[in-house]
């Protein structure tokens, strides 16, 4: 019998891998920033799966709520439509 914990682990890792690829590959810089936020959130998901709730919450507070917002704050100052066609 397989361990049922592998299912949420697979889902979270899939989300994390896809979003991490998108951080590098996405065309729009805002999409990159949001993909970065999603990959940080899925790291919090890993912490929850490892029964480390405090780490998960701090991950969300610091990386998503702090650094993610700062990245978006920087992106919002760059303006839209400046990328080379």
């Amino acid at each position: 019998m397989i361990n049922l914990e592998i299912i949420p682990f697979m889902i979270v890792s899939l989300i994390m891998i896809i979003s991490s690829i998108l951080v590098v590959k996405a065309k729009d810089v805002v999409h990159c920033a949001f993909a970065c936020v999603v990959s940080m959130l899925s790291v919090a998901g890993f912490y929850v799966l490892l029964n480390a709730q405090f780490m998960a919450v701090v991950q969300i507070l610091v990386y998503v709520g702090g650094i993610g917002v700062m990245i978006l704050f920087a992106v919002m100052l760059t303006g839209r439509g400046q990328e080379v066609e």
């Binding site: 936020v37 405090f54 919450v57 701090v58 969300i60 709520g65 993610g68 917002v69 704050f73 919002m76």
Partner: protein, 351 residues
């Protein structure tokens, strides 16, 4: 009495987490709680329209559903559902569609750790909530921060200047207000010596935190109104300057969901104020519960906080965005640090 004993037996099994189906039953409880908070948000919308009408010497909704317009909200919902769902040609489709979903997700995640009552079963106490966490108050703070992304997604994804201004304003405001919000919560947690919201409520069974620590209540209240984005701080969607801000391009039920997420946030925020500062399910200070079940006390307090929110909306004008950012950094942040000092002193003297 046999039925009563049976119910108590089941409650012990569920909330003491010794039952094999405990997780499933808690899941069902979670569904019920989400429904209840949804209902609470509906009640808040109705109360707001009626109460605002009273304050402004109007009648408010009075056509649908009898003299008091009780069914007005259902009529509004039908109207929203039948409207055309427009996605602007200039929009960033993924962000535009995702924004209301993220907003609602943030609200629903917050509901998961809210405790509602405290049951005395066989001489020991059990909290009624969906998930018992050691760090529930940090969790609430972290998850409520996700709503910032929703508004930014809506603002950026709409592809309109007004929406983008709304989203920018939201981020500029929230960077300043999340910090005092967090510090004022932490200063209360220091007094209770726990990050668990259940233990913070337990610590208030004699005196409420608003009496011991009024400064933290003021800072938390102001930051919460800014966090939820209600009127003295609703620069993100000010109708007169930037035409509803981030919500400009939304129509139909997408707008309805975003709007509803905001009210959900406000209801959960009022629950947080009632739990953290107004004693939660404990009755009046010193006197105690007066034989009324705790959940009624909690609901009464929550409704009072909601009424306070609506009253501030009617009574106060909207600030300019630079004034709001100034208030956050120059006034609320030092005050919240003072809160931390105050709670440390109380902890040292009486702790």
């Amino acid at each position: 009495m046999i039925i009563y004993d049976e119910i108590m037996y089941w409650l012990v099994l569920i909330f003491a987490e010794s039952h094999p189906y405990s997780d499933w039953i808690r899941g069902i409880l979670g569904g019920l709680v989400i429904g209840a908070v949804f209902g609470g948000a509906l009640v808040m919308v109705y109360l707001e329209r009626k109460f605002l009408g009273d304050i402004q010497s109007r009648i408010g909704p009075n056509r649908v559903g009898g003299r008091y317009g009780v069914l007005q909200l259902i009529a509004d919902a039908i109207k929203l559902f039948t409207k055309e769902d427009i996605i602007p040609a200039n929009a960033d489709k993924w962000l535009f569609i995702g924004a209301p979903i993220v907003a609602l997700t943030s609200g629903f995640l917050m509901v998961a750790v809210l405790p509602f009552d405290y049951l005395l079963i066989n001489g020991s106490y059990y909290a009624v909530n969906v998930t018992r966490m050691d760090i529930s108050i940090l969790y609430l703070e972290a998850v409520s921060g996700l709503a910032v992304f929703a508004i930014f997604m809506a603002g950026w994804g709409s592809g309109s200047k007004y929406s983008m201004l709304g989203g920018f304003r939201n981020i500029a405001k929230m960077i300043g207000y999340e910090i005092p919000l967090g510090i004022s919560i932490i200063s209360v947690a220091i007094m209770a010596q726990s990050l668990d919201i259940v233990e913070i409520v337990e610590a208030q069974d004699f005196l409420w935190n608003i009496i011991i620590h009024p400064l933290a209540f003021i800072v938390f209240g102001i930051c919460l109104i800014a966090d939820v984005g209600r009127i003295p701080f609703d620069q993100t969607e000010s109708e007169e300057e930037i035409i509803a801000g981030w919500a400009t391009e939304y129509s139909g039920m997408r707008w309805g969901l975003a709007f509803f997420a905001e009210y959900l946030h406000a209801v959960v925020g009022s629950f947080m104020v009632a739990l953290i500062f107004l004693g939660g399910w404990n009755g009046l200070p010193i006197v105690g519960n007066l034989y009324i079940p705790g959940i009624f006390w909690l609901i009464i307090k929550t409704i009072m906080v909601i009424m306070f929110f609506i009253w501030t909306r009617a009574a106060l004008p909207r600030y300019r965005i630079d004034q709001v950012v100034d208030l956050g950094w120059k006034c609320l942040l030092p005050l919240s640090l003072l809160c931390l000092v105050w709670s440390t002193i109380i902890g040292l003297v009486f702790g």
